[in-house]
């Protein structure tokens, strides 16, 4: 029987941000640390919420787009194409504005199978990991699990 693989074995540490961190810094963290999830913590390191890459993109989408099933018949959006982006740059978003406070969190001692289940079921690329007291421990991602399961592609 192979050894039990736990979440702590595939954990990566992504630097967390604070509530008042500007969104541009959050985006920078994602880019620099190759992650689509950035945790938001308080001064003691307790997890307050998470920000996914989608949360940074969603504000660009006009609200009424929800009403339309698909855009197969549209190539460009005319005035909207320019308005949404120019308007967005004037808005000063902080991490607190965009973070999700309801999120799926795993424990370091959880089985990797549990992580795989939630990653696939909830269509996430990453999940946050906290200890029993709610302190941030790291992030488990699809890629880190794939790397552990399949190695680096070398025979």
């Amino acid at each position: 029987m192979s050894e039990l693989l736990r979440v702590q074995d595939v954990l990566t540490y992504v630097h967390p941000v604070k509530l008042d961190t500007p969104i541009s810094k959050v985006a920078h963290t994602m880019k620099e640390e190759f992650t689509s999830l950035v945790p938001v913590v308080d001064d003691e390191g307790k997890l307050l919420g998470v920000i996914y890459a989608e949360d940074l993109l969603a504000p660009f989408i006009p609200e009424f787009f929800d009403l339309i099933e698909d855009f197969d018949y549209i190539t460009t959006f005319g005035v909207l194409d320019h308005e949404v982006f120019s308007d967005f740059t004037h808005k000063l978003f902080l991490a607190a504005d965009l973070m999700q406070t309801k999120y799926r969190a795993l424990k370091p001692e959880d089985s990797v199978l549990k992580a795989i289940f939630y990653l696939v079921k909830e269509k996430r690329t990453c999940l946050v990991v906290i200890d029993n007291k709610g302190y941030y421990k790291g992030v488990v991602s699809r890629l880190s699990i794939l790397k552990r399961l399949y190695g680096n592609g070398e025979q």
């Binding site: 006009p62 009403l67 339309i68 197969d72 018949y73 460009t76 959006f77």
Partner: protein, 426 residues
């Protein structure tokens, strides 16, 4: 008997007040009232069952299923995009096209479905060209309620009237379609005047900045062809139903069943799109008003109304006046369900009168008054809900400012048509 009448009138008044108040969903109120008259022993469950007009419900159900097929094809999106292209960058042409398109589609589909289809596209198109969708959405509400009046199947009040008065699809076409179309055209210019310079519905926009392709909107060509063929047969059935002695409900349900059969998919997803709340609302109202009829309260109301006037012109004006007040407060459906037996009684009491003029008065005025306020018709509330996703929400007062004058305008035109055609020209 006197006590029974008193209690039934109390149940009726309280129910209609609750429907107007909108604290509870109107369907819950209607079912509650129906159950109350059964529990109190005023009618038996079997009588209640027999009071439900299944021709009305069947016609609505059949059309709702057919519409659910249409919605899957992307055909309406195709039409909307085509309208943008035809406008050639002229805001007023765009406004007029959407107005007429909504009206025409609404003449065959129910109003809520029509506005649910077109409102998001209107918002998209106006935002893409850089103008506020507000006047276009107000136009959408007005057009859906006006257009729905044009045929037997366009608006629930017409279905009720047609079923109760024995008026065929062709009768509605012969009496209402052309005047409604002309009133719609006049309304476009009226709205252009009242929106004036506050909102942009005139001028030009650069169509080249909007890259759209209507052909890509069609999602399922085969389904579109099948739906069109069946819908064509259904329309033919409506035209011939009187001659063939088939009820319109049977025509609509046959079309819906044929589509389900040839498409051979799980019908559950199509049944999901049926507005069951509307059907139950009708059921409750039929039972409630039927109980009033059984205890001759309807007859008493009819005789009371006949005290005010005994000539046709007077009755036309009286029905119009009642429509103006009560449809605004409680909506067209409860008003029409109540008025149908009253008008039937009036026609029985006055054999020399041209009953059809009263039915057309009820249809035109009740359907048109659905535009009076934001709460006068379901479609109005649906568009208001959709507008919340834009910068300029349609509120009760912002709608009233433009909707009410437009309603009065269309109401006066409708009344003029009725008086000239049915009273002066006979």
């Amino acid at each position: 008997m006197v006590n029974s009448k008193f209690i039934l009138i109390a149940i009726f008044t309280i129910s209609f007040a609750l429907i107007a108040w909108e604290k509870w969903h109107r369907t819950i109120v209607a079912i509650l009232a129906a159950i109350a008259v059964i529990l109190l022993g005023y009618i038996t469950p079997l009588e209640a069952w027999n009071l439900i007009d299944f021709n009305t419900l069947g016609l609505l159900l059949g059309m709702m299923i057919i519409v659910s097929f249409f919605r899957r094809t992307g055909f309406f999106e195709y039409l909307a995009i085509k309208a943008v292209k035809i406008s050639k960058g002229d805001y007023f042409v765009l406004f007029a096209f959407f107005f007429i398109l909504t009206g025409v589609v609404s003449a065959f589909l129910d109003n809520v479905t029509t506005v649910l289809i077109f409102s998001p596209i209107i918002i998209l198109v106006t935002q893409m060209t850089g103008v506020s969708p507000f006047p276009y959405l107000i136009g959408e509400i007005i057009a859906s309620n006006l257009g729905g009046t044009a045929t037997l199947i366009g608006d629930p009040p017409n279905i009720i009237i047609g079923s109760a008065a024995g008026l065929s699809f062709n009768d509605f076409v012969a009496n209402l379609t052309l005047p409604v179309l002309l009133i719609m055209i006049a309304t476009i210019f009226f709205m252009k005047a009242i929106f004036g310079k506050t909102y942009k519905i005139t001028g030009k926009f650069d169509l080249s900045i909007v890259k759209i392709d209507e052909k890509s909107a069609i999602k399922d060509k085969k389904l579109l062809i099948k739906t069109f063929v069946v819908f064509g047969l259904v329309l033919l059935g409506f035209v011939l139903h009187d001659r063939l002695e088939i009820l319109p409900s049977v025509v609509a349900l046959s079309g819906a069943t044929l589509l389900l059969f040839i498409n051979n998919e799980n019908p559950e997803e199509y049944f999901h799109e049926v507005e069951w709340t509307t059907l139950f609302f009708f059921g409750g109202l039929f039972i409630l008003v039927g109980a009033l009829e059984k205890y001759e309260i309807i007859k008493d109301i009819a005789l009371f109304l006949l005290k005010f006037t005994k000539n046709e012109l007077g009755l036309i004006l009286l029905i119009s006046g009642l429509s103006f007040v009560f449809t605004t407060i409680m909506g067209a459906i409860p008003f029409v369900v109540t008025m149908v037996p009253i008008i039937n009684t009036i026609i029985q009491k006055m054999p020399g009168i041209n009953g059809n003029s009263l039915w057309w008065t009820l249809s035109l005025t009740a359907c048109f008054m659905g535009n009076a306020t934001l709460i006068s018709a379901a479609a109005n509330l649906v568009v208001a809900g959709i507008s919340e996703k834009t910068d300029k929400k349609i509120t009760f007062s912002s709608y009233l400012k433009y909707g009410f004058p437009t309603t009065v305008f269309t109401f006066v035109l409708a009344l003029a048509y009725i008086i000239v055609r049915y009273y002066f020209l006979g």
